[in-house]
Symmetry: C2
Subunit: 204 residues, 2 copies
DNA sequence: CCCTCCATTGAATGACTGTTCAATCAAATC
DNA sequence: GATTTGATTGAACAGTCATTCAATGGAGGG
């Protein structure tokens, strides 16, 4: 193995990521409590003991997954908001991107499901709960602001912005769920099922 | 206690229902594995041992909940389908009823969340998985048929009926989730967020 | 008043599983 | 080739928790 301390750290990080990405689908399909450390170790292909060389505990793995998930999702949401586009274009782009991501990256769906269940659950580590509480409504707020902007400039229909944002993300989560149920057969619906939440077909 | 064997059975059934309705929210918030038998017993207010007088195992409780949930939901769906109404009226009635139920009966949301998580989970008893596999798409099919009927008679917009049904139920599930997060503060959005999936505002 | 059911308890049991640890291995540096 | 440093293992440990069970209570019927 690499003795170079920098390469060393990199390999360690890669190994941690490998563990995380195996653990995601286990946690998503079984939940934290029902996922055994032995399962994770088997999925990664290492001994149980070695897992504890990379993470202090099963809970730490879980927390790390939650942390990274929100980091990526919220960065993407804020990036979208900053793009120099009209509200209508932003919604269209978000809808198209999300539908494509659903089809192409199974991982997005695993993470989405994991977060959904973790958000409800009483049985998650306190640290994970804190992250969730702090981060979970960022995407909702972004979309609600978008809805408000669109309604102000007249390109969107009416409806309480918060409700519309809720329906928007709810639909995405539901599709993610469905995508996992179907596997590779899955085909995303027309992005208009998302855009229609905000405005009817006819371009202004 | 009632010695009358008929009354006796009735009291036993009531007790079983009491256990089930306490267990639902525990299973919904923690998942099957993370819910301890001790928790359920404490919630009902009985000893752990006594639980086993009413149910053979923790899993049996879970399975019974799943069974009853699908029974009610699917009966309601099929009842709606049989009503002498136009597709448009049926969708409107379903939307209104669901929005009201969400506000008034917290239990509906608990059950909805329980079923959602159970549907994904690998870690549910085989019997529950069988019930889920067998029953879960009844409501989807009912709504898809409705969509097809509405499109045929021209009162609905276009869109793949299966996709529309998916989006419809997904939204309901998402709202149930949100309703639990908010508690008594929750206020259902305008039913049109549901009807709009199928047709635009203007009445034909 | 006794006998028979059922409800009820609380403690014992036994399996499961997260975590620790002492020991081995392998690579790189000197 | 000796030494250091991190990777890796497998078994042991400890705590948790579902399930069982022997014993008690209490209500109605004879």
């Amino acid at each position: 193995m690499a003795r170079n301390p920098i390469q060393n750290k990199r390999m360690r990080d890669e190994r941690r990521q490998a563990i995380l990405s195996c653990a995601v689908r286990l946690f998503a399909t079984r939940g934290l409590a029902a996922t055994k450390v032995a399962d994770i170790a088997a999925a990664v292909g290492m001994s149980q003991g070695l897992l504890y060389h990379y993470f202090r505990s099963k809970e730490e793995i879980f927390v790390e997954i939650v942390r990274q998930a929100f980091e990526r999702m919220n960065t993407a949401a804020r990036d979208l908001e900053r793009l120099p586009l009209t509200p209508r274009q932003k919604v269209e782009q978000a809808a198209t991107t999300l539908m494509r991501t659903l089809e192409e990256h199974e991982n997005f769906s695993w993470i989405s499901v994991l977060i959904s269940t973790a958000s409800i659950s009483d049985a998650v580590p306190a640290e994970a709960r804190a992250i969730i509480r702090r981060e979970r409504d960022v995407p909702y707020r972004v979309v609600a602001r978008l809805a408000r902007a669109g309604q102000r400039d007249g390109s969107f229909d009416d409806g309480r912005p918060d409700d519309l944002a809720l329906v928007f993300w709810t639909t995405v989560k539901g599709l993610a769920l469905h995508r996992l149920a179907l596997g590779p057969t899955y085909k995303s619906p027309d992005p208009r099922v998302l855009t229609r939440i905000f405005f009817s077909e006819t371009p202004t």
